[in-house]
């Protein structure tokens, strides 16, 4: 057992340890109860993106495996809408929170109006949410998502619209693009924290059929292959803003998580690794604690941004 104090503050979301989960790779938490006690293990968990009304998501196939420890997905935010989400998972999520794990609900929309409507519904119906993550970075939908978060103005506009609707912490999920500039714009609009990166758009073509291996032409790359790129972006963003960052991208080991912290992340979310190694989160948490101890610190916060260059 690590004797290091592991708790961190992700923009008002008080986490018992820096470990979070990446939206869309963690179901709504209960899928992992067979692997470990979610509420007792994580600092926070982030639910799948949910919109005001149900979304069907994209057609199949939504997934391809790539060489280089990577996958590509084009799920496109299939979700049942806020009401059904709360009805189906609210009680479980309240239980998770009661056990000490913060619950972050992710808000998605195709337009400013839809983001607003989803946030209003969440604010009203989801007392179990410790905070919200606004996803302006999904590369797999035609409107909203990455299309709105691609510029400082677009990102700021979403933030201006949703920020007044809740007093709970608002994290913004960013695309792997111009993270310093857009991060600053979001900070200026009152974001409490930033999380990055979302998947990197890629293409995988079946050269026999000349068609995409997925139903859409492009899809999002994730997994260990994107880790070094994600660490660099977290570092760039951390240089630019003073709000906390949740580092995401290819984290599969305690050392990967430690890199994120050193680069300036306050919390770290595990994504793709949850899929192929569903019991990885407790292992990563304990490896991270061991590393902090080996570094001779008494508080993990001493290691945030402690990269020396």
């Amino acid at each position: 057992m690590s004797t290091v104090s592991m708790s961190v503050d992700l923009g008002g979301i008080e986490m018992r340890n820096p470990l979070n989960t990446a939206s869309g790779t963690y179901g709504n938490g209960w899928q992992f109860e067979g692997f470990y006690d979610v509420g007792a293990t994580l600092g926070a968990m982030t639910c799948k993106g949910v919109a005001a009304e149900p979304w069907d998501g994209n057609p199949a196939p939504r997934l391809a495996e790539l060489p280089g420890s990577a996958i590509m997905n084009s799920v496109g935010l299939q979700n049942p809408g806020v009401r059904a989400f709360v009805d189906g998972h609210g009680a479980y999520l309240q239980g998770v929170r009661d056990r000490g794990c913060q619950v972050i609900c992710q808000v998605v929309g195709h337009s400013i109006g839809e983001y607003v409507r989803a946030m209003e519904l969440f604010e009203e119906l989801a007392p179990f949410a410790s905070g919200f993550e606004v996803n302006i970075s999904c590369p797999n939908i035609a409107r909203g998502g990455a299309a709105m978060g691609a510029t400082c103005d677009g990102a700021a506009e979403v933030m201006r619209a949703v920020r007044p609707l809740t007093s709970r912490p608002v994290v913004v999920k960013m695309a792997p693009h111009d993270v310093a500039e857009i991060g600053r714009a979001l900070e200026a609009e009152g974001a409490d924290a930033l999380s990055l990166i979302n998947t990197i758009p890629g293409m995988a073509i079946d050269v026999r059929t000349r068609r995409s291996r997925l139903a859409r032409a492009t899809a999002g790359v994730s997994g260990p292959a994107v880790h070094a790129i994600a660490v660099r972006m977290v570092w760039e963003c951390a240089q630019a803003v003073s709000i906390p960052i949740c580092g995401i991208g290819g984290v599969a080991t305690g050392a990967d998580a430690a890199e994120m912290l050193l680069a300036g992340a306050t919390a770290v979310a595990v994504g793709t690794a949850n899929l192929y190694d569903p019991a990885c989160a407790p292992r990563i948490a304990s490896e991270l604690g061991q590393w902090a101890q080996d570094q001779g610190v008494s508080d993990i916060n001493e290691l945030i941004g402690a990269f020396e260059c």
Partner: protein
């Protein structure tokens, strides 16, 4: 939210792993908890140690789980890198399986015979269904299709005739509950009959049987095009049809929404969580 039968992680050890037909292997794994809990039509998601450049697990149905012995029997085809490495696992090698996953077959909801239609490596879950039906004393007939004779997985194909018989139970000579069981074997190139003229699809075999007998339920697993044909035939006769679908799977336990199955009523189900077995009427083929 299904929290009752939780999917979890099982370390397993390879008990045997042998070539049983062209590019097709039978593997028995020792995984007592999994063997005790998995039910016909469910699947598991195996990792193969070695090449870290492929991270996803391999979803496999199973043929039979022996709760007493603690073993599960799988049949799989080598189609790519993952299954190729799986075929190289040796007796005593260990790895992990995530399971039991998804929802399995259900018994016919009305009285009457069942018709089982397997194509290629759709065979294992069909054999599991046969075992389930035999346990429930439901009569059934079987169609097994393959591309070529070399890909037919003997002795399993013949064995299915003995499911639920005293011979299978090892209790001597008493009568089967289902003495008229029929087995039809088809090959895409006619090689099972030794003649290209005998080339038939599993759906052809199914049509033949349906001509002679009434069925209450069809169970099918195989290539999508085959299952689509089977479902259409069943529908034309008003027979209920369960189909075990395949999708590329990210997780295999409902965490990633990668394995969608479009539904006739609109929206998508998840193959790994709501399936892999679906009512053929409910899915968009």
């Amino acid at each position: 939210m299904r929290m009752s039968t939780r999917t979890s992680l099982h370390e397993f050890v390879v008990v045997s792993n042998e070539l049983v037909a062209q590019e097709t292997y039978r593997m028995v794994i020792d995984a007592p908890q999994l063997a005790a809990r998995i039910v016909p039509g469910q699947f598991m998601n195996l990792s193969v140690p070695g090449d870290n450049s492929h991270v996803l697990r391999i979803p496999l149905s199973f043929k039979r789980a022996d709760a007493l012995a603690g073993t599960v029997e799988l049949i799989y085809a080598v189609v790519g890198e993952g299954t190729r490495r799986l075929s190289q696992m040796r007796v005593g090698d260990g790895s992990s399986a995530v399971g039991p996953s998804g929802a399995g077959w259900w018994l016919p909801r009305s009285e009457g015979r069942a018709l089982l239609v397997a194509g290629g490596v759709g065979l294992p879950p069909i054999l599991a269904a046969a075992g389930m039906l035999a346990d429930a004393r439901v009569g059934f007939d079987v169609v097994v299709g393959a591309r070529t004779q070399a890909r037919l997985v003997y002795p399993d194909v013949d064995d299915v005739m003995r499911y639920g018989t005293p011979a299978a139970a090892g209790t001597g000579s008493a009568e089967s509950y289902d003495p008229d069981r029929a087995l039809v074997v088809t090959t895409d190139d006619g090689s099972a009959e030794g003649s290209p003229a005998a080339a038939r699809s599993a759906a052809d075999g199914m049509a033949d049987l349906m001509g002679g007998r009434a069925y209450a339920q069809v169970y099918t697993c195989g290539p999508a095009a085959m299952m689509c044909g089977v479902a259409r035939l069943a529908r034309a006769r008003g027979i209920a049809c369960q189909a075990s679908l395949e999708r590329m799977m990210g997780c295999g336990f409902g965490a990633c929404s990668c394995c969608n199955v479009a539904l006739v009523r609109g929206g998508n189900a998840l193959c790994c969580q709501d399936g892999p077995v679906f009512d053929a009427e409910e899915v968009v083929w």
